[in-house]
Amino acid sequence: MTLVKVRDLVVRAGGRVISSVPVLDVEPGRCVAIVGESGSGKTTALMATLGLLDTAEVTGEIGVCGVDVATASPRRLREMRGARAALVMQSPRAALTPTMRLGTLMRRALARHGVTGREAARRAEDAVAAVLLDPALLARYPHEVSGGQAQRFAIALAIALGAEVILADEPTSALDVTVQAEVVGVLRRLRDERGLALLLVSHDLALVSSVADHVLVMRDGAVVESGPAAEVFARPRDPYTRELIAAVPELPEATP
């Protein structure tokens, strides 16, 4: 089953097209990435996919976990976003209530989805382990954990609520490189071991190359190239993709 299916998506602002994606499919256990620079329309495409934009400006067919985003009721959309499709953003702390301990936050979120008692505890434990978080951290407040821990907790929250697809907007841009590697490692594992689907939006080509199966390159609101990640990075066809790849400062090869 295709978890995210987009056809002929066009988003306008004041009559001007600011983002358009002809075809996008995310299957379980796969990671699709949208790369591009500021203003390329990549985040707009992500927001439209989740039905977070004013529908008057959005046309096209968008299906997420079987829900038709264009026609679904606000309630149906909220249910879809809360559980099966999770949004993970650049600064995880912004998504976490600052006055609540992480454990309480997780319990409340599960309760809102009708999961309580033993089942809630089991799910929380499983999700926290899946993101390699020390369960002791659940006693802390969001400001008492590091950025990487908060981001992994945000992912754990999604897993506990039963997310089948995570839509992530620059999930590691605010993190140190070592912490970033850890978060990416967690996402890769969830994809490989649990069949989680990922739709990743990022400006970081090197990061995308290390996790994505399929890549869409956007520029000025349009997709200029789309293909298997290995292919796009090894043999970019579009001149802009080539320019982007060439611009990435290269770290020299390690010598043994």
């Binding site: 620079e37 590091s146 490189v177 590697a181 990416v184 090197a206 290390s210 290269e250 090869e253």
Partner: protein
């Protein structure tokens, strides 16, 4: 104080630091010899300890900002930006000293201090930090000019146009305000403002991290051109090792307020001798390279006793728990690790 000085990485090729400055007493570090770094003199940190209130964030760090560029890398909280603030004269050391051209910043008189401020200029991550949001770019640059040079209005305007051209901007942009230009243009304008006072040293704190990759590449080109054209010296603070490789000949790696490895940048980045440098390197995603590796758990807080990195280190042994490793020369660098030779031999990857 001298005893506790970490070895100076600029003396790597020398048998011992004191051999470099004949006649200098044991209390004088080579980096402190006056004006050895060109017309403006060298910027040095000597056994600098920095603290905010009771929290010590930088412990006895020594480094020299020398020609060819010096990179300072490490994760959030490693103390690299705090050290940069001290080198800019914005934070007084708790102990140790910051010198410029051999003169202790703390002992400088007003006029000398003003000269230092002109000679050592910062460039931050976001150009808007250096630009007044209500001022036109031209006025921001002119303001910096006026602080250090007496120029009449026409000369000032001509100089602003020249500076904007130097950083690859259309002089017409002088009439714009910071929010009316792109991030890359803003960063160039901030660089132009820093250059207005004709500095010798630029302290670059993540100068390209907020920029798109193609813009970043052009700003890096600009920084290389400016260095060649104006004889500038750079201290680059960044988490991006590839940028260090591009702009710096020497690199210092900081962890938990201490320099854990120093040496020639290319050597350090391709063949790390400290497990933390190796972890940083292995964590960098590369196009067509091996997937990034998270070496050790980043959750572990720096250890208070012994080696601060030991709780994250794959090679930690009993000795690391009991004895903090002192910086020592190992194959062309200075490393604070008991097992540096084994790291170089590839032990940490097994």
């Amino acid at each position: 104080m001298t005893r506790s000085n970490p070895p100076d990485p600029s003396g790597l090729d020398e048998p011992s630091p004191s051999a470099r400055t004949p006649g200098a007493g044991p209390g004088v570090r080579p980096g402190a010899s006056p004006d050895s770094g060109g017309p403006g003199g060298r910027l040095c940190a000597e056994a600098v300890t920095l603290a905010y209130g009771r929290t010590t964030v930088v412990h006895e760090v020594g480094l020299t900002v020398e020609e060819g560029g010096v990179g300072l890398v490490g994760e959030s909280g490693s103390g690299k930006t705090t050290l940069a603030r001290a080198l800019l004269g914005l934070l007084a050391p708790r102990s140790g000293r910051i010198t410029y051209g051999g003169r202790d910043l703390a002992a400088m008189r007003r006029g000398e201090r003003a000269g230092f401020r002109g000679a050592v200029q910062p460039v931050f991550q976001d150009g808007s930090d250096a630009l007044d949001p209500r001022m036109r770019l031209g006025s921001s640059i002119a303001e910096a000019l006026a602080a250090h040079h007496r120029l009449d209005r026409a000369a000032r305007r001509a100089r602003v146009a020249e500076l904007l051209t130097d950083v690859g901007l259309d002089p017409e942009l002088a009439a714009r305000r910071p929010h009316e230009v792109s991030g890359g243009q803003r960063q160039r304008a901030a660089i132009a403002r820093a250059l207005a006072v004709e500095p010798r040293v630029l302290v670059l704190d993540e100068p390209t991290s907020a920029l798109d990759v193609t813009v970043q590449a052009r700003v890096l080109d600009l920084l290389e051109d400016l260095r060649a054209g104006r004889g500038l010296t750079y201290l680059l603070i960044t988490h991006n090792l590839a940028v260090v490789d591009r702009l710096c000949r020497t690199c210092h790696v900081m962890f938990a307020g201490r320099v854990v490895e120093s040496g020639p940048a290319r050597e350090l980045l391709t063949r790390p001798a400290h497990p933390y440098t190796l972890a940083l390197r292995d964590a960098v995603p590369r196009i067509g390279g091996a997937p990034p590796r998270a070496a050790g758990r980043t959750d572990a807080v720096p250890a208070a006793e012994g080696c601060a990195f030991r709780l994250r280190c794959p090679l930690a042994v009993d000795r690391c728990r009991t004895q903090a490793p002192a910086p020592r020369p190992v194959q062309g660098r200075v490393v604070a690790c008991h097992r540096a030779e084994e790291v170089l031999a590839g032990a940490a990857r097994k």
